[in-house]
């Protein structure tokens, strides 16, 4: 049976990946650290600990993570926490419980980060979504 001819796009994807991709083990390590953040976003996460789990120095780890995902690990964790916070707020959880559930230790910091990321305070976001049920 003939293998279907690859499109121009598929050939380019393969070429760029071959010629400009990072060594495979880098992807595996940073993916592992990303999965770690996804499991433990509700806990206090030390960057040094994740970096050493990825067998890299803190500086090298941040650089490689950013090359792979386009964001620093800290930015990734912040976005992950905001995304989880949005889900919990939509379900009607209180702002304080959401704050601690997603790994923030201070309510003012959580509110500030949430507002910067979404344009709304946690309470305003909840009111908007609860009055406009999906």
């Amino acid at each position: 049976m003939n293998t279907p001819k690859k499109t121009f796009y598929e050939q380019e994807v393969e070429r760029i990946s071959r010629e400009h991709g990072l060594p495979q083990h880098y992807y595996a390590y940073v993916r592992q650290s990303k999965a770690f953040m996804e499991r433990h976003y509700g806990d206090k996460i030390e960057l040094d600990k994740i970096a050493s789990a990825a067998f890299m120095s803190r500086f090298h780890y941040i650089r490689v993570f950013q090359q792979v995902y386009g964001l620093t690990p800290r930015q990734y964790l912040r976005d992950l926490r905001i995304a989880r916070a949005k889900e919990l707020l939509k379900k009607g959880h209180s702002v304080t419980s959401v704050c601690f559930n997603v790994g923030y230790e201070s309510l003012p910091t959580f509110s500030k980060v949430f507002k910067r990321g979404t344009g709304y305070s946690p309470k305003a976001y909840q009111d908007l979504n609860i009055s406009n049920r999906e």
Partner: protein
């Protein structure tokens, strides 16, 4: 504060596109307003119904048709949608008869696949690994 509220895919037939994007891909219709012989027809993701809308835009402008055709022939996706589990989504869509022009493939930090939306476009599905 400025924000992105709509993006679009050009489609040859809005009704046919509405069926494909809702019944196969799983989007939800958000707005449907008659505009002359066409419609302002937008979709949203089921879990982001207040989020960015996808406009199914009629191909009324001839040069746009040429551009769409060139991308289609080169296998270049018009746009890309994120899924949680690409292999699962690929199997689900295949079972619904959706044609893929690129099977799931790991590329750097992502897994991607490209499907034919039957309305003139290649659409990429991506999962962040």
């Amino acid at each position: 504060m400025i924000k992105i509220y709509v993006t679009s895919v050009p489609v040859q037939d809005q009704e046919k596109a509405l069926q494909f994007y809702t019944e196969k891909l799983g989007f939800i219709k958000k707005t449907d307003v008659p505009v002359g012989e066409y419609r302002w027809l937008t979709l949203v993701s089921p879990n982001e119904q207040n989020g960015v809308e996808l406009l199914l835009e009629p191909m009324a402008f001839t040069p746009a048709r040429e551009y769409q055709k060139a991308l289609k022939e080169a296998g270049i996706p018009w746009t890309s949608f994120m899924v949680d589990d690409l292999k699962k989504e690929y199997e689900r869509l295949k079972a619904l008869g959706v044609q893929f022009i690129m099977e799931p493939k790991e590329v750097g930090p992502t897994m991607i696949a490209v499907l034919d939306d039957t309305c003139g476009n290649n659409i990429q599905l991506a999962e962040m690994l």
